[in-house]
């Protein structure tokens, strides 16, 4: 199963990378969202896979049966999901503001911070 998941994760990462290589901020944003999912799946697979039994201790037991899924990666992913959602929200609004303020979603045209034709620094003394 891990093999198949590895391939799936590869597809996730490849898609994310392709989208992020775009000039357009919106596509970069989509890429970031997919990247987050890829990372989560990677963490999930890193803890090895088990089918269907959630890590919840039954009422009549004190310990979790060993067939249950590995809870640690799940907890890590929960943390990571929340964080990546936060970043996604921030970036989304940033993109929106970028479009508003700079009038474009094309990163090639966003040259306010690093203008294109800057004059040489003074050469004298």
């Amino acid at each position: 199963m891990e093999t198949l998941f590895s391939l799936l994760i590869g597809v996730f990462f490849a898609s994310a990378v392709y989208l992020m290589l775009s000039k357009h901020t919106v596509r970069i944003l989509l890429g970031i969202a997919i990247l987050g999912n890829g990372v989560n799946l990677l963490l999930f697979t890193a803890g090895r896979l088990t089918r269907e039994i959630p890590p919840i201790i039954p009422f009549d037991s004190d310990v979790l049966p060993s067939a249950a899924a590995n809870p640690l990666p799940q907890a890590l992913i929960l943390t990571a999901i929340v964080i990546s959602f936060s970043f996604f929200a921030f970036l989304l609004v940033l993109t929106y503001r970028g479009y508003q303020e700079l009038g474009t979603d094309n990163t090639d045209e966003m040259r306010l911070a690093e203008p294109k034709d800057e004059s040489l620094p003074p050469l004298g003394y």
Binding site: I83, L94, L102, A113
Partner: protein, 521 residues
């Protein structure tokens, strides 16, 4: 929600039973204090007059706590507190060793300086939209990162400081900030994501996240696990955070856009967290892999410092120049890491400490120069030597400290790293170090000539500027005093960074502090 259903169980199999000394709280306290104050500031966000009264004493307390922490580590060696009382590696351990404590303490100092400077530099809007909460949580992230002993937790603190830096980056109300912030955010997000991915692989290989535990397990797994690929991934992720060539783009693209006090904080702190993580992971966890990849690191280091220095020379804008100066400094640190060994690592650590102070001071200086001279650009600046002699003295110190000339603090790490490079016969790396230092000398000498010595341009004569209040001059003078004092009496920081390097190269003490009884095997 049920009470325990079985008979009392043996807690000692799961928990640390030894009583917790109050002094152990020192490793948590800086981070805890900053988060608490950040939360409080958030609750009183609209009561602007309270912000300074909460934040500045808070930062003073942070410096004191960090100082006590450093003192304790220097005297007693590393110590650990594991959150939740769980036995390591099951809970999240916070472990303070010399490296973390030194960086935390130095960061505390510059945060205090920036906080005080920010009282005047940040206007009401900036404050209402969270300058001080962002600052507090940035510091929570920074100190948390320096002191945590858990690699996933390190990632979390990276994110805390990253999102705080996003917030700070957009506070200055200028349109170019959106552009800078976009590049900064996207590239840094890629960097931290790569770090998280690497952490995922670490978990997949070792089944643990505690760094002391990983350090113990690496030798067992060395023959089977893909540690070199993993190490390269770590290096790439941390190089991005540290702004090493060729993944340093985000820094020059964004650091000049926010308010200068924010740039100062960033210049001092953010890249150093990346450097810290690189040292922690590559030196302490994967020493043999670092050795194997040292050529890669050395090439990156040489390019970083030379291109950083050249980049600084190419700028007219003082802030952009400072950004490239930060990068050149990172090159020096990475060179130390690449060389390795007691000398190289201690040089890298010492340089990082120096750079935290010097780069913050450099940005604050640029801010004052621009405030008095009315411009950021060397094209129009002039006459500052006459107008602000005190500032000229600060500039003289900061410039030569940055270029690594005596008697200022930049000299010593440069000498140590150069010695380390020549010890192993890396003449080209030494040459890069020297070329970088020379170009920086030329660059900063030119700035002194043009902005300070050159008479004020007739077109630039404007209204007289109000003299600097202590909010502005105090932090600058304080940082300059640090640069001068440790330039003339470098023994203490040198000794401490040597101690830090020794602990990293032989992490027995670090591991011992996490697993006092040899651990739960």
């Amino acid at each position: 929600m049920a009470a325990p259903t079985t008979a009392p169980i043996d807690l000692s199999a799961a928990m640390v039973m030894a009583p917790t000394a109050l002094a152990d709280w020192l490793v948590i306290a800086p981070m805890g204090l900053m988060i608490t104050l950040g939360a409080v500031l958030m609750m009183v966000r609209h009561k602007l007059h309270l912000h300074g009264w909460i934040a500045i004493p808070g930062l003073v307390a942070l410096v004191i706590l960090d100082g006590l922490l450093l003192w304790r580590v220097a005297v007693d060696g590393p110590f650990t507190m594991t959150a939740g009382r769980w036995l390591p590696p099951f809970g999240i351990s916070f472990t303070a060793d010399l490296l973390g404590a030194l960086l935390a303490f130095t960061s505390g100092i510059v945060a205090l300086a920036a906080g005080i400077y920010g009282l005047r530099d940040i206007n009401a809007t900036g404050r209402r939209y969270g300058f001080f909460p962002f600052l507090m949580l940035l510091m929570a992230g920074v100190t948390g990162a320096f002191l945590t002993g858990d690699i996933f937790n390190l990632y979390v603190w990276f994110e805390v400081l990253l999102i705080s830096s996003f917030g700070l980056l957009i506070l200055g109300s200028e349109r170019q900030q959106v552009d800078g912030a976009l590049k900064y955010a996207v590239l840094n997000l890629i960097g931290t994501t790569l770090f998280l991915i690497a952490v995922g692989y670490v978990y997949a290989i070792f089944g643990t996240l505690n760094m002391a535990d990983i350090a113990r397990k690496v030798p067992e797994q060395r023959d089977v696990a893909p540690l070199l690929t993993l190490s390269t991934l770590f290096i790439l992720a941390f190089a991005m955070k540290a702004a090493a060539f060729p993944v340093n783009f985000w820094l020059p693209a964004s650091y000049h856009t926010p308010r200068v006090v924010v740039s100062a904080l960033f210049g001092g702190l953010l890249t150093k967290v990346g450097v810290y993580a690189m040292i922690r992971v590559m030196v302490m966890l994967f020493p043999l892999e670092r050795e194997e990849l040292s050529l890669l690191l050395a090439i990156a280091a040489a390019l970083t410092m030379v291109l950083g220095a050249l980049g600084a020379l190419a700028q007219s804008d003082l802030r952009r120049m400072a950004g490239f100066a930060v990068i050149a400094g990172i090159g020096n640190v990475v060179a130390g890491v690449a060389i390795g060994g007691q000398t190289g690592i201690s040089g890298a650590i010492l340089y990082a400490l120096h750079s935290i102070v010097a780069m913050t001071a450099l940005y604050l200086l640029a801010g004052e120069a621009a405030r008095i001279g009315g411009s950021w650009s060397l094209q129009t600046l002039g006459g500052l030597y006459r107008q602000a002699p005190g500032l000229a003295v600060s500039a003289f110190v900061i410039f030569f400290a940055t270029a690594g000339l005596p008697p200022f603090s930049g000299l010593w790490p440069k000498i140590i790293i150069l010695k380390a490079a020549l010890d192993i016969g890396a003449w080209w790396l030494s040459a890069a170090l020297l070329v970088s230092a020379l170009i920086l000398t030329l660059t900063l000498g030119r700035v002194f000539l043009l902005a300070f010595w050159r008479p004020q341009l007739a077109s630039a004569v404007g209204e007289p500027v109000s003299p600097a209040t202590w909010h502005r001059s105090g932090p600058l003078v304080g940082l300059v005093a640090v640069l001068v004092f440790f330039g003339m009496f470098p023994d203490l920081p040198v000794r401490l960074s040597q101690g830090a390097a020794a602990t990293l190269l032989d992490p027995t003490a670090y591991i011992q502090s996490v697993f006092p009884t040899g651990g739960a095997e």
